[in-house]
């Protein structure tokens, strides 16, 4: 069942050196419960697209439907977002950061504290409730940011290169951890990345975007079960195929920037 329908959206930015086409005629539909990755060269408008899904960016053309209704601004009952910069509130403890979304929704103090505390275990942050973000490692901070998004229990979670700032080992572990969470909650995840490894390890489908102006170039199905053996012939073949799709775009992005 289609949960998210992106229909011909476009976005152009005005910059000091003239107008820039960030996205042009992007269409994609995502089913409920899917883990869909969007991959593309830097500056291809991935984040803009995610911003549109979250209601933070308004498309110049086209529209986005979520459960049949057009997106008209942030809707924290349907969509939660995790950004590359975790954006934790430095004056709030871990548990208070986790509570943020519930607090905005007017959930009573005791109730939201209970909900946030329940998340600490799955987040691997047991015992860290009273710590401040500055006392945590990069991976832990990003887990808090993911927890803050999971706390409001939306059917859709958008992730904008959530592990982009982490070192490779942490990234891989965080990926495994995220899969575990996703399999348990069956949320619809749209995951933006520029890492082939992440795309292949995590997603059920990968949408490849072109260099600016970003369009969907192709969509790859990854029907293999989890956890995936990254050295299996299937994955290696898909990796080559995916790289072939992206290579040209990355080269264009490099030449253009």
């Amino acid at each position: 069942m289609t949960l998210i329908a992106i229909e011909g959206v476009a976005r152009r930015y005005q910059t000091a050196s003239g107008a820039v086409d960030a996205l042009r005629d992007v269409s994609l539909s995502v089913d409920a419960g899917e883990f869909c990755t969007i991959i593309g060269p830097s500056g291809c408008g991935k984040s803009t697209l995610l911003g549109m899904l979250g209601g933070l960016v308004v498309p110049d053309a086209g529209r986005i439907l979520i459960a049949g209704r057009p997106v008209a601004g942030p809707d924290p009952r349907t969509v939660a977002t995790v950004f590359q910069d975790p954006g934790l509130f430095p004056w709030r403890t871990v548990v208070e950061n986790l509570e943020f979304g519930l607090e905005l929704q007017g959930v009573a103090r005791a109730e939201r504290r209970r909900a946030a505390t329940e998340l600490l275990g799955p987040l691997g942050l047991r015992g860290f409730a009273p710590k401040y973000p500055r006392e945590l490692s990069g991976g832990m901070r990003q887990r808090v940011a993911i927890g803050r998004a999971l706390a409001i229990d939306t059917p859709i979670v958008l992730m904008d290169e959530p592990f982009g700032a982490l070192d490779e080992q942490t990234r891989m572990l965080m990926g495994e951890w995220l899969l575990e969470i996703w399999r348990r909650t069956r949320k619809t995840v749209i995951f933006v990345t520029h890492s082939l490894h992440e795309a292949l390890a995590l997603s059920g489908r990968v949408a490849v975007m072109t260099a600016r102006p970003g369009r969907i170039k192709s969509v790859l199905e990854l029907p293999m079960p989890y956890p995936r053996a990254m050295e299996s012939p299937e994955i290696v073949a898909l990796r080559a195929k995916l790289w072939h799709e992206i290579r040209e775009e990355s080269a264009r992005a490099m030449a253009g920037s």
């Binding site: 933070l56 939660a80 950004f83 509130f89 004056w91 929704q105």
Partner: protein, 248 residues
């Protein structure tokens, strides 16, 4: 403990040197501690200036009003300039230009507008306290990580919620620093105003003692005024430290 002793030692040495130097020179002009301390005692026992309490109260009241006005206007103007881009572009430069003018040049016109009484002192205290508060608000807004605002928007926060839950806590340390500077400058404004010309208040007493060459009383009045100011600053710095611990 050792540092405390060392400080006491330095203080004692300074007092002794002061005493010796004042006696060697002119005790009237240099006021040695041996005559300043009795003068301070007489002042506090209301022997030299029996109406000291009413003067002190007047000064404190002028400061309180000037500071309250500085805080109110400073916050309002600061947030208006910082949060509304058009307003900021239009009026920000004017504010900066006004701030660059040495404030004392305004005082004569303030006396002409507001007279010799409390109003001109309050106006001057306000003028001095207003700028650092406004500028601290502007700096504080710039210092809030824009990503935090984006996160709050993504979670459905409306402008008022963003203001209360992201902006104010994010800039609190800078804001409190500005409020503290504003207090110090409001105090300076009121007292300078009183010294430059007034009939009542601590500044007027200081002027009176100085004019009559009652130098020991003059020193005692200055010491008392300093003590009041220092107390207000200590209170403000305690608040500042709490805000710092909270924001970091």
């Amino acid at each position: 403990m050792k540092t405390a002793l060392a400080r006491l030692g330095l203080l004692a040495a300074l007092v002794l040197a002061w005493e010796g130097a004042a006696r060697a020179g002119s005790p009237l002009l240099y006021v040695p501690p041996s005559s300043a301390l009795p003068a301070l005692r007489d002042l506090l026992l209301l022997r030299s200036y029996p109406d000291l309490p009413s003067h002190l109260l007047l000064t404190v009241r002028e400061i309180a009003i000037a500071y309250a006005l500085s805080v109110g206007a400073g916050l309002a103007v600061g947030f208006a300039l910082g949060l509304y881009r058009t307003v900021g572009r239009a009026y920000g430069p004017i504010l900066a230009a006004l701030y660059a003018v040495p404030s004392v040049v305004w005082y004569p016109s303030l006396m002409l507008f507001f007279g010799l009484d409390a109003a001109s002192k309050i106006a001057f205290g306000f003028l001095l306290g207003f700028f650092p508060i406004t500028l601290a608000v502007l700096a504080g807004i710039r210092q809030v990580n824009p990503q935090l605002v984006t996160v709050a928007r993504a979670f459905g926060a409306r402008p008022l919620t963003i203001f209360l839950k992201v902006l104010v806590p994010g800039m609190l340390f800078t804001l409190v620093g500005g409020l503290r500077t504003g207090l110090a400058l409001s105090v300076i404004g009121v007292i300078v105003g009183e010294v430059l010309g007034s009939k009542a208040g601590m500044g007027a007493l200081i002027n009176h003692a100085y004019g009559l060459l009652r130098t020991a009383d003059y020193v005692a009045l200055v010491v008392l005024t300093l003590a009041v100011i220092a107390a207000s600053d200590v209170a403000a710095s305690l608040l500042e430290r709490r805000a710092q611990r909270w924001t970091e």
